[in-house]
Subunit: 334 residues, 2 copies
DNA sequence: TTGAAAGCGCTAACAT
DNA sequence: ATGTTAGCGCTTTCAA
């Protein structure tokens, strides 16, 4: 491997100058910089990240801890993060907690505290007080995207408010029998999000003076299949609700499939509304409240990069707005 | 930050011994090892990856270059890779090429050759001769998952064969008017895969003595929406095909949605078959040929880890088997 | 089984 | 504008 010395020798300058020239630092003659660049290119020299990381104390990499990479929301947030990182020439280290819980502390220790990264963004994950202490002790700025957390800034939407908006939309159309398909995450992660959305459903009904019926709440698994099954149950009872508010777009699609399978129409027989802005919502003509995970991820990454650039940390959490998109899956009750 | 010296001092041994003890190397007294572990735990010591990377020449990280993280296939492969890496205590660096082509060489240079990783797996990506030369020169073993590539090993399925199987299945049911919805990748990436699948369609028809009609081939975009539109076109013509072979499961779902929207039944009026094993296939009762991206990713990662462990490189590419799953979306023609 | 010491390839003060 | 010189925190011979 060609090292910085090779380039220095080839150019006839010191390694310090090579380092400065290549990193675009000031106080290097343009002619020198050009010569160094040429030599580096010629020799195929690229600085070793271990060496520069060790010497400078910065890895130029950011870590993203995700509960899974197979869910739309997470990948969309990841893309937002990645977008900002690329602009800043930062690399992305992916820490996937996927499934098993035992791994978690190992991952945390082995990888995160090993200082492979300069900062950390966690998706819908909580940190224990101990973990936060450790993060602080390694000087790792961290931020959470998704669910709110204790003791750490976070980027997210107002889940309660968004859910209320969705249900209020249905109420405004004249619905009074509105069911809710609540989400449940496999690992018990991210519980606050489905809970907030459920609370929004209750609140909106209560505020409108509509009694909250226990049998109008069913649990799905944040995916199409289980939500479809949950809706099957909902529709098998004698009297059907006139509208369904699902805790996610995928769940709403599941509801639509169930409704269709029962020979009913959307929104003719039953109105359906979701939350997310999932691509399928467009495909299925689903009315929804879009949250913008890409933007959320980008915001998080930008905040951290800012901080790493030496700007004063913005300690405040950021609440992203949601967008109401009417695609016609809701209408006044028959 | 507590360093290896702190642990050495606390334990009263040399840093060399601490290093050996913590890494589980032989020739360390059990009592010493225990003491070192205790002290390390106590002090919250974790080795710096930059320092050990620099000293040892190994980063204990593997890079994955992906064209996008928002597509099912890629994330499934990633999970397979991640699974193996975790077992080996390797970290995963994600290089997302997402969209723009200009970025590519920058990413390649800046990140990959910077030796942040010990090995590289590329998803459905080709390498230029120059890039391969560079990879070799940094001693980076590399492998490709997905499309076949020149000059590099790759893990993948027999796309031509799988497509033939799908079409032969339809022919065996008695179909003679079989349409194909071909895939087209946005970035022009991964072109060989859709091409092979299309070739399989042609081959199977030809072999069965069925003329290949140009108007029975339409192009979708490897997603539900465009495939639905493509099918709309297919169905708007006078006489309908009796079966459709889609180049992916998502595309097959798009076809089903179009068919239903036309008031037709699957498989009553039109049979549909896909390729992939996408979760939606189950949801929609789609008959398909499952490829197993998780397994493909795992195989790739394992091969590289093997090689990094010093085992002789397996230079051969690996062809993964596909699994036929009949979910009833195909039947004999009416 | 353990320790001493020489790097690994860079960066960052401090000089010049 | 450029060079000198210490490290950064580990790993790894080589000795003991």
């Amino acid at each position: 491997m060609t090292s910085i010395d090779d380039v220095a020798r080839a150019t006839g300058v010191s390694t310090a100058t090579v380092s400065r020239a290549l990193r675009g630092l000031p106080n290097v003659a343009e002619s020198t910089r050009e010569a160094v660049r040429l030599a580096a290119d010629d020799l195929g020299y690229v600085a070793s990240s271990s060496a520069s990381g060790l010497a400078s104390g910065r890895t130029l990499a950011m870590g993203a801890v995700v509960p899974s990479v197979s869910r739309w929301f997470y990948t969309a947030v990841l893309e937002g993060i990645d977008h900002e990182l690329r602009a800043a020439s930062y690399d992305l280290i992916l820490f996937n907690l996927g499934g098993r819980g035992e791994d978690r502390s190992r991952v945390f220790h082995r990888s995160i505290l090993r200082k492979r990264t300069d900062a950390l963004v966690a998706l819908c994950l909580d940190f224990s007080a101990e973990e936060r202490r450790q993060l602080t002790s390694v000087g790792h700025p961290a931020i959470v995207v998704g669910g709110p957390v204790r003791g750490l800034r976070h980027i997210g939407i107002d889940d309660l408010g968004a859910a209320k908006l969705a249900v209020e939309h249905l109420i405004a159309l004249g619905h009074r029998d509105i069911a809710h398909i609540g989400g449940e995450d496999e690992a018990g992660l991210n519980r606050s999000v489905p809970e907030a959305r459920q609370a929004g459903w209750r609140d909106a009904l209560t505020t409108a003076g509509i009694p909250v019926r226990g049998d109008r709440f069913v649990l799905g698994g944040f995916n199409i299949d289980t939500s479809k099954q949950a809706t099957d149950v909902l529709l098998s009872s004698g009297e059907r609700p006139t509208a369904i508010f699902a805790a996610s777009d995928e769940m709403a699609v599941g509801a639509m499939l169930s409704i269709w399978a029962h020979g009913l129409r959307v929104p003719g027989d039953i109105s359906v509304i979701g939350i997310d802005g999932h691509p399928l919502a467009r495909t299925f003509g689903l009315t929804t409240l879009e949250q913008h995970p890409f933007a959320q991820g980008a915001t998080a990454a930008r905040m951290l990069l800012d901080e790493l650039a030496g700007n004063p940390p913005r300690s405040r959490s950021v609440r992203h707005p949601v967008t109401f998109i009417d695609r016609g899956s809701t209408a006044r009750p028959a």
